[in-house]
Symmetry: C2
Subunit: 391 residues, 2 copies
């Protein structure tokens, strides 16, 4: 159901002809039918932010959005003034077809950087989508498929609470995924009655511990966009804490699906750092381990190589995370392979047959802060995919 699980939304995912892949759907439209039109957003911090990111950031800042147009097959990034004009033209065209003011339409793009979009194909997609808008399961899935690039499957979430409102969502993302940013493109919808401030705050808190804590390949995108749209169609006013929890859950589930479909990956790796003096320190340690190509290759080779865990941990400055290397404990899939910075139980005891790999690092300081980062292994297929992509 993805974005139409929450009441008050309709969607469509169609082929406009932007993508060079035969038959690939490449345009999704999501419409908020109200009665309220709250929109929150979190965007990439990349300084080469794409034209649609700059545009949509401004729409959110100006307050409210009634629809969103998303295309795959081209990122419209590093395309200068001409690229920005394409975004405006897309919003203008969509506005006409949907009967909505153009300045209430968000735009997002994903695909190759540095090329203008084939605008005719974008328009064709928007026109066709506008005619097919629906709130059924197929439409929700079509939209989630239309935003995919190297993703191998659509990624969706549906959640509800006893108090009577719903949260739905979709995300695309497989490569160029790194933390300290929003993420790839995600649309989350709710029929709760919330104000913009509550929605924005809930979304920021949720992304900080979900999309910001996954890392496929250490590469930050120019197009990352997470949007939360609220229609108020349930008539239920959301309790702030419950709402934040629900949005956090939706973001976590979508982020987890990105890792599950990381480019070429054969293992999902959960890195948990505990016993730290601060959350920031624990997070810095987890990120350092998650970014190790050597570790990620070892995991691909089913080798629980804890030496590559601690050598990454050792790159984190003491000013960021205080700990004594001689106290550090590392468990891989429950086997204590490193104890007090030295070899512990034999690595041969670690089973690596499951897709999920759990690396638990205890810094053993006198505090108990912890952080979790998810990453993927680095495989032959990752290199294949990214050596061949648009070459």
């Amino acid at each position: 159901m993805s974005v139409v699980y929450a009441k008050g939304f309709s969607t469509a995912g169609v082929r406009g002809g932007i993508s060079s892949v035969e038959g690939k759907k490449d345009v999704a439209v999501v419409v908020n039918n109200g009665p309220i039109f709250v929109a929150a957003g979190v965007f990439t911090t990349n300084r080469f932010a794409a034209a649609p990111v700059k545009y949509s950031r401004q729409i959110i800042a100006d307050g409210g959005a009634r629809a969103m147009v998303i295309n795959s097959g081209g990122a419209n990034a590093c395309t200068g003034v001409a690229g920005f004009e394409q975004v405006k033209a897309t919003a203008q065209f969509a506005g006409e077809k949907l009967g909505i003011q153009p300045d209430k339409i968000l735009v997002a793009s994903t695909g190759l950087i540095g090329e203008l979009l084939p605008l005719d194909a974008v328009f064709a997609g928007v026109e066709s989508a506008a005619k097919q808008l629906n709130n059924d399961e197929v439409s929700g899935k079509n939209a989630a498929e239309a935003i995919m690039t190297t993703d191998t499957k659509p990624k969706m979430v549906t959640l509800n609470v006893p108090s009577g409102y719903r949260v739905g969502g979709m995300v695309k993302g497989s490569g160029m995924i790194a933390p300290q940013l929003a993420t790839m493109i995600s649309v989350i919808t709710t029929d709760a009655v919330v104000d913009q401030e509550t929605a924005q705050e809930a979304l920021q808190k949720a992304t900080a511990k979900s999309f910001d804590c996954i890392d496929v390949d250490g590469c930050m995108s120019t197009n990352d966009t997470v949007v939360l749209l609220a229609s108020g169609a349930s008539g239920v006013e959301a309790r702030k804490d419950e709402f934040e929890e629900l949005i956090a859950k939706a973001c976590s589930q979508l982020a987890r699906q990105i890792i599950g479909d990381g480019e070429g990956s054969s293992h999902d790796i959960r890195i948990k750092v505990s016993g730290a003096q601060s959350y920031e320190g624990a997070l810095a340690c987890a990120r350092a381990v998650a970014s190790s190509n050597l570790l990620k290759c070892a995991i691909y080779g089913n080798d629980p190589n804890w030496g590559r865990v601690v050598s990454s941990l050792g790159t984190v400055p003491e000013s960021v995370a205080q700990f004594d290397p001689d106290n550090v404990v590392v468990d891989i899939n429950g086997v204590r392979v490193c104890e007090g910075g030295k070899p512990g139980q034999s690595r041969s005891l670690v089973s690596m047959t499951e897709r999920e790999v759990f690396i638990d690092i205890n810094l053993c300081t006198d505090s108990h802060e912890e952080a979790v980062v998810w990453t993927d292994d680095l495989t032959l297929d990752y290199v294949h995919i990214n050596a061949d992509y648009e070459s």
Copy 2:
């Protein structure tokens, strides 16, 4: 000739039986025969620094060294007190065999992290090397081969100046190579007459712009060690500036050889960032680009994907490198593929047939600081090598 090109040194490289690879030489000994015994060193900043790093750092600080023992086949890192005892025992044993005080002997190790060394094999190697010490070409090459791990060829340098002294050297390193540290293991020798302060300063300046500016895979080692030994055997007192230049050249040539032999690499990539406000800013930009897995895969696929260049550049905070994304220019192998942050000439004009790839980024600020970082492409063989290494 490597380390014995400079007068006053003898060396040997032999098999002690540490490495599991049949017939692989795994112990090198370098002896400074004087008349002076100056030693300078730069070591990894990794907090899990290996036992031999901690030990040798102290020997250098205490002043002077007359010999160095290096083994491949095991890093003796994360091995606790027992590992440190192995280093002391090795120095003690080598001292007896070489007739040198043990506290004048440096020790370095490279190989798998988290396992103690087979000390019998280390001793066997030291004993055999002590008997074969020589200053001929074969011995120099044997030593350079004995320190190799995943390296596919020995890496050596020989330099001289008209004023009459020489510099020789060797290095090993292929993976787990990342900047902001010393590097892998390198021994540079000179027969110039220099004091410890001059030697240390020359080495630090040289490593900052050579070993610190290469990055194979973003992974910092626990065992990086660069040592400069001076014998004074030429009788020539080195002029400070000339000496610094020579050491810088030796380090640059050795660093360049590491990139030329980066694990599984098919392209050596020079990233030059110019037009920056500061050297530090230029360096941060070059490092960001050099660490992009996506770019490195694209280069492997012979794709001059400048989108992946600028998206990496865009991750550098403005506080670190001020520049306007809309002014940035990118040339790949002499073709201006990005101009003013937008597409320039067609990527199809870029020839990618040569091993070397030159990525020139001009930030086009009103200043002209620049920095260079070398890296390798990310290939199927890199993943193969690191998925299989000791698994």
